[in-house]
């Protein structure tokens, strides 16, 4: 079984490029050039230099001893929360802004839900002096005010998505419409491992630095490259894709995905796509998505805005369908509790997204000798208001 992408842009039966003809020239240009550009030594050099000096990589692989003691196994945290801008998102935006420059693009657009990808995009646009427009659902703009302010301070224009449910799904629609209207000068920086081929693969490759580092860091600490398990939360799935990438073809490494169950899988307010979704087309790719029997895409729910997406990336659909990965889902309550636990055992306040990955211990019992690497995809600063309300702090 092959878990990586094939020549036609599919992971098993998932992926492809289901796009209107208006987008074809841009997506096709990217498809033809992305691997070649990524492999150029000048590109690699600049990418890795920026990851080191600007993002602050490598991010530490931290042995969480008190958390390990609590859950009876050896837990390592991959500290993506320590990256510049506070999450893994910047690995991808650094890569894509360099890609956009190589393609001669002079204007950047992006979608954002919670605002993390928007901030990461606005950051690299400021760094490179390139015009930046970020689409964000009107409802998200209201509930993520600090990130909106950050993007504005970084010089980006934040445009409200007023259509549909006015959240991430609709912000993505608006960004795609912008790209249709501006086909020549604009590059669209998609923030997750979703969208038409080659986006899922390109984003995954930029994020794969996460698992690349885990391998040598674990070698240093444990004398072995491969953990028993890698664990990540999944919305669209970019931090998960990066965390799994170098372990996909290594069957001795267990792959664990934790989705957002919201108020419970059967509550009607959930974002657990693998449990509730069916195969279909969303934002240009064939993948698992939450939809009505009639094929209308439904609105997901999670307390974590970063997991509040009705689909998952095609790689994850394939990992799920093939049985390569084990999928669990954590409720709002479980994720919040896990976030509080990490804060008080290790002195690290995680993003609520990452709290879902940490909630894996509610669902799976590990053996005492198991080495479990968890992607701590982001820090909790942006979520303080939600924590304050939830815990009445």
């Amino acid at each position: 079984m092959k878990y990586n992408i094939d020549e036609k842009g599919y992971y098993g039966e998932f992926g492809g490029a289901f796009i209107p003809e208006m987008l074809y020239p841009n997506v096709e240009e990217l498809r033809q050039k992305y691997l070649q550009i990524m492999h150029e030594s000048s590109f690699q050099k600049e990418f890795h230099q920026l990851l080191k000096d600007y993002v602050g990589r490598p991010s530490p692989l931290y042995f969480a001893s008190r958390l390990s003691e609590k859950h009876g196994c050896k837990i390592y945290l991959k500290r993506e929360d320590l990256n510049h801008t506070g999450a893994h998102k910047v690995n991808n935006t650094i890569g894509q802004i360099l890609m956009a420059k190589k393609l001669g693009k002079t204007r950047i657009i992006a979608e954002t839900g919670a605002g993390q990808h928007g901030v990461a995009t606005a950051t690299v646009c400021a760094l490179m002096g390139i015009e930046c427009v970020v689409y964000m659902g009107e409802i998200d703009i209201a509930r993520q005010a600090p990130n909106v302010a950050r993007m504005k301070m970084l010089g980006a224009e934040v445009r409200p998505a007023l259509s549909g449910s006015r959240t991430l799904k609709d912000a993505t629609n608006e960004a795609i419409r912008d790209w249709i209207n501006n086909p020549v000068d604009t590059h669209y920086i998609i923030g997750s491992a979703i969208g038409p081929h080659p986006y899922p693969d390109m984003v995954t490759r930029f994020q794969s630095v996460i698992s690349e580092e885990i391998k040598w860091q674990l070698q240093e600490k444990e004398g072995r490259e491969n953990p028993d398990y890698v664990v990540a939360c999944i919305g669209g799935g970019s931090n998960a894709a990066g965390t799994y990438y170098h372990f996909l073809d290594n069957p001795e490494v267990g792959i664990i995905a934790v989705e957002a169950a919201g108020k419970g899988i059967n509550s009607g307010e959930s974002a657990a796509t693998s449990a509730l979704g069916k195969i279909g087309i969303i934002h240009g790719c064939k993948t698992m998505l939450m939809q009505t029997n009639d094929g209308q895409i439904t609105e997901p729910y999670s307390i974590s805005a970063g997991l509040d997406y009705p689909g998952v990336g095609p790689m994850h659909s394939h990992l799920h369908a093939s049985g390569r990965a084990d999928f669990y889902s954590a409720t709002d309550d479980e994720a919040m509790k896990a976030g509080l636990e990490l804060s008080q055992l290790e002195g690290i306040i995680p993003a609520i997204e990452s709290g879902h990955a940490l909630a894996v211990f509610e669902h799976k019992k590990f053996r005492s000798e198991d080495v479990v690497v968890i992607s701590l995809s982001g820090r909790g600063d942006k979520d303080l208001n939600t924590y304050i309300e939830y815990f009445k702090l």
Binding site: F18, P20, E21, Y24, G164, D170, I281, I282, G295
Partner: protein, 266 residues
């Protein structure tokens, strides 16, 4: 010989191909099924035919219409809120061929069709007397590889879009796969974004006309009235009006359709 007979049989059967043989410039109208009211579908189609429209695109509403501007988005959202579904649309159209004879095309995004089942969808269209489909997010390559035989089995024409950015090579490929007409998007935009044509569009229309494609072209996007209809059809076989018609329905309701259609051809 058998092949030629098949083709001529096929041509006789499809109303779009027949219509394209008429010497006049064609006016095609798009509307969103289930808007303004759930049960307006049949009445709108009948009124459009009575008013002299040549062809109709019935929009199957979708929650996430990527290629559409605000007007069609809003009508789609409203239609879904009114309760429109694929099943209901087929039910509404079940007897449409008793009262309407012009070509009917269903325009919809791919996901609802995929969920219905592509073959079941095509069969249903064929039973009802639908002549063609426009599925903006089903690329010509995927269609050609996976679905063309199914569409053809049910005598449905699949209509593809080209834009000012489409390469010559790809236009030739689209022309070779198409069996009716080519939907020529007038400018790089979503639907309803701008009205009217400048020199860039005129040049593009001429460039495409000079390619001598085997399929006639019908222009869409940016046509809203008599003036833009004349401009668009100077080189092309016809033109499609969508957003402007929906705006008219929003403001004037379904009883005044002819007052919108009649002045377009003067």
């Amino acid at each position: 010989m058998y092949f030629v007979l098949c083709i001529s049989y096929f041509f006789k059967m499809n109303r779009i191909n027949q219509k394209l043989l008429e010497p006049k410039k064609l006016l095609s109208i798009y509307f969103t099924a289930g808007y303004p009211n759930l049960d307006d579908t049949v009445k709108i189609i009948q009124e459009l035919e009575k008013s002299g429209v040549d062809m109709i695109e019935i929009g199957l509403p979708f929650s996430d219409p990527l290629a559409d501007g605000p007007t069609i988005q809003k009508s789609s959202t409203a239609a879904l809120k009114n309760g429109m579904t694929t099943e209901i649309l087929f039910r509404q159209l079940a007897a449409i061929r008793e009262s309407v004879s012009i070509p009917l095309i269903i325009m919809g995004y791919f996901n609802p069709i995929l969920q219905f089942g592509v073959e079941s969808f095509c069969k249903k269209c064929s039973d009802i007397g639908i002549d063609g489909l426009i599925i903006p997010d089903l690329p010509v390559d995927v269609y050609h590889e996976s679905y063309q035989t199914i569409f053809e089995k049910y005598g449905l024409l699949n209509i593809f879009l080209i834009t000012p950015q489409t390469s010559v090579e790809r236009i030739r490929f689209i022309d070779s796969v198409s069996k009716g007409f080519i939907y020529m998007v007038s400018s790089a935009s979503v639907t309803g974004a701008k009205s009217g044509f400048g020199q860039t569009q005129q040049d593009y229309f001429e460039r495409i006309a000079s390619m001598n494609l085997s399929n006639p072209q019908i222009v869409g996007f940016g046509i809203s009235n008599s003036e833009t209809f004349q401009q668009a059809t100077k080189m092309a076989k016809g033109a499609i009006i969508g957003s402007a018609f929906i705006k008219h329905l929003t403001e004037n309701g379904v009883d005044s359709i002819s007052s919108f259609i009649k002045p377009i051809r003067k």
